[in-house]
């Protein structure tokens, strides 16, 4: 399902999401349930931390040697009978997929759930070319039929309840037949509807969890079997893979096949994982196309701090532990990549000016970093991106930047500082402005309460004491003669 077009500021979208009590209940239930299950699944492996360290290092190594790994992948896929295509952006990738579908004379393609193809709005692009893309993952099918988009990477229709899904299916795939709202009955309706498509549609489109440079092997991890259907039965298979999904060696799969399922669905292993290498005569598709997609990834790679966002294996563990995500749900992030990982990935992929509020969609509590199976230091990247937004993005950031520069100047000199403190009591000057909500500081000041400006500062109180008191030098520690508001004013701005 396609992502929303123009991104709204996160605070605005989040306010709307928070008013939707059904959404909040469903997302709250989902995140709480998966969080607890994941903790148990992870606790079962005594070498979990060693696996995380290995996963992190494999990804870092891949990024440092990306040209070499992609060349190896291209050579090994080609050797195995596949065709490799390169796409600078989404439009180019979409055109490649559309051309392949047309060359095979089909007006329909079947699709495995894939974030990369959602990112580039493949379905809409194919529709414009007269090709209908059928989503085969149950949740994606629900969202597609409802004209809706994903609220969670892993369970994208978690914002819908069973009664809504029953009405939706009765109206669409069940063609007026009455269904019960038992999940079993709804799933059966989807099975019957899609089975015919699996058996007849000649072209399938998938994403990739990993692409092994050494062997040319592509991996898709899934639960329902729709991934196996799409990668096995059609005559032609097209896989759209972000360039960051390459891993150097087949052996690396031993790490990720342990990290991904436990972090994602909190299972020891997901029901089905398919690994295929080019074309296998007599078994599976006769044609295999791999589309390697940039679409902003090289911009992410150029930022030395931010590039670790490319290590993401799309497990969604960070979503489930995030105090912000577990209340707002995914749609408030205005991107197919929600939650903490989305807050660092979306602004970098689309450009900071396209999503300047997302790096603030976090309390910096660090739970995402703890949960991440490849140890992406999301809080550090968030802070780094906040700095970049202020420095690089015009408009909203400018006021905050100017005020912070003025404050730095004031704090740099005792004379300027003391003058500013006096002015602050009158509600003027650089420090007074901070308390009163400076222009351009709207969001900054909204979420922060500044203390009252005291009638007398600590320095003034110190200077005004009797000479005998000064020699004792007790500074008022516990003696009860400290100036009434001094302690409070110290906390916010520091004296």
């Amino acid at each position: 399902m396609s992502a929303p077009g123009a991104a709204r500021p996160f605070p605005e979208a989040a306010r709307e999401a928070l008013r939707d009590s059904q959404l909040r209940r469903n997302v709250g239930k989902a995140t709480t349930t998966i969080r607890a299950k994941r903790a148990a699944a992870v606790a079962e492996l005594p070498d979990w931390e060693a696996l995380r360290a290995a996963g992190s290092a494999i990804k870092a190594r891949t990024m440092a040697t990306l040209p070499e790994q992609l060349e190896r992948l291209e050579a090994s896929v080609t050797r195995a009978g596949g065709t490799v295509h390169w796409a600078r952006d989404g439009a180019e990738a979409n055109a490649i997929v559309a051309a392949i579908a047309k060359a095979n004379g089909t007006g329909e393609v079947i699709k495995v759930k894939s974030l990369a193809t959602d990112e580039i709005d493949l379905n809409d692009a194919l529709e414009r070319e007269g090709i209908h893309a059928i989503e085969t993952d149950l949740a994606e099918l629900i969202n597609q039929l409802a004209g809706d988009w994903s609220s969670h990477i892993l369970v994208p229709a978690i914002h819908r309840n069973r009664a809504e899904i029953r009405r939706l299916f009765e109206r669409t795939i069940a063609q007026g037949r009455e269904l019960s709202d038992e999940p079993e009955a709804l799933t059966e309706a989807a099975r019957v509807h899609l089975r015919e498509k699996f058996l007849s549609v000649p072209v399938a489109v998938s994403g990739a969890n990993f692409g092994v440079a050494e062997t040319g092997t592509i991996a898709v991890f899934e639960s329902e079997g729709n991934g196996r259907m799409c990668t096995t039965l059609p005559r032609v298979l097209v896989t759209v893979m972000g360039i960051e999904k390459v891993v150097p060696e087949w052996r690396d799969i031993e790490v990720f096949a342990q990290l991904l399922p436990r972090s994602s669905t909190a299972e020891r292993m997901n029901p089905y994982t398919s690994f295929w290498t080019g074309v296998r005569p007599g078994d599976g598709p006769e044609e295999f196309h791999l589309v390697l997609l940039d679409n902003g990834r090289t911009d992410v790679l150029a930022d030395e701090v931010g590039r670790q966002a490319l290590h993401c294996i799309r497990c969604s563990a960070c979503l489930n532990v995030c105090p912000v995500y577990s209340r707002t749900g995914g749609q408030a992030y205005g991107s197919i990549y929600p939650g903490p990982i989305g807050a660092i990935l979306t602004p970098q992929l689309r450009g900071l000016d396209q999503a300047p509020t997302l790096p603030w969609a976090s309390s910096l509590c660090g739970a995402c970093y703890e949960a991440c199976p490849v140890r992406i230091d999301i809080p550090t990247v968030l802070v780094h991106l906040r700095g970049r937004v202020v420095r690089e993005v015009e408009g909203k950031g400018r006021g905050e930047k100017a005020v912070m520069q003025a404050v730095a100047r004031v704090f740099g000199s005792r004379r300027r500082y003391e003058t500013a403190q006096k002015l602050a009591r009158l509600g003027r000057g650089p420090l007074g402005v901070l308390g009163g909500g400076a222009p351009g500081l709207g969001a900054w000041a909204q979420a922060r309460d500044l203390p009252e400006i005291p009638a007398q500062t600590f320095r003034e109180w110190w200077a005004s004491r009797e000479p005998g008191d000064r020699e004792r030098g007790d500074g008022g520690g516990g003696s009860g003669d400290a100036p009434p508001a001094a302690a409070g004013s110290d906390r916010g701005l520091g004296t």
């Binding site: 190594r61 069973r162 709804l186 058996l199 690994f275």
Partner: protein, 210 residues
């Protein structure tokens, strides 16, 4: 085409800079293939597979064919597909060899499929199919609604790294590898686990002393 490739490659090299940092060595301090474990692989495999709502039948080699026949009768399967050259017969059930290869619609109309496997993983309850021998073609274990899978106890490996190493030669040969961990499932509707979406809804595993 090559223009896109050249541009993407140039962007990557520009992003990494003229002197990219030497790649970090990968620390592999986790349990490697062949490393020790503190559990019995065969018992663990049986437990974990059962946890996925698959049925585990532990049988002696001499009783296997009877057990397969009994299971088919219980499941109402009278006609099942098998990879060519499968060494087991099933008492009282018509077996259809996948030679010449059965079409997807033929497989859709058949009651079930019986296969072996390449190896199995105890810690994750996974059956590993390697697209040859007793594993069969991929479509064979996908389209029918019932999968009977025979696993010899000497095929059960402790953990994921053991299996990844064991199938490495098959991968390098270009054979497809499929990990099957329980029957197909979804939790997409209100997080309720529903067994059986598109793959076989019933999985019977025959764990044979061997």
């Amino acid at each position: 085409m090559t223009a896109a490739r050249d541009t993407v490659m140039r962007r990557i090299r520009d992003a990494l800079g003229p002197a990219p940092a030497a790649p970090e060595a990968v620390p592999r301090a986790y349990r490697p293939a062949g490393g020790p474990v503190d559990f019995d692989p065969v018992d663990r495999f049986a437990e974990v597979v059962a946890d996925y709502d698959a049925t585990v039948h532990r049988v002696a080699a001499a009783d296997l064919e009877d057990a397969l026949g009994r299971c088919c009768r219980e499941r109402g399967a009278t006609r099942i597909a098998v990879p060519p050259g499968l060494p087991w017969r099933v008492a009282g059930v018509e077996t259809v060899a996948d030679d010449p290869p059965l079409g997807a619609r033929d497989l859709d109309a058949i009651d079930g499929v019986l296969t072996g496997c390449a190896v199995a993983i105890a810690q994750t309850g996974t059956i590993v199919l390697d697209g040859a021998g007793t594993s069969g073609r991929r479509a064979l274990t996908l389209v029918p609604d019932l999968h009977l899978c025979v696993v010899r106890t000497d095929q059960v490996l402790p953990a994921v790294p053991d299996a990844v190493a064991a199938v490495a030669p098959a991968v390098r040969e270009g054979r497809p590898i499929t990990f099957v961990s329980g029957p197909s499932a979804t939790a997409d509707i209100e997080l309720n686990r529903v067994q059986g979406v598109h793959g076989p809804r019933t999985l019977d595993v025959f764990l044979v002393e061997g």
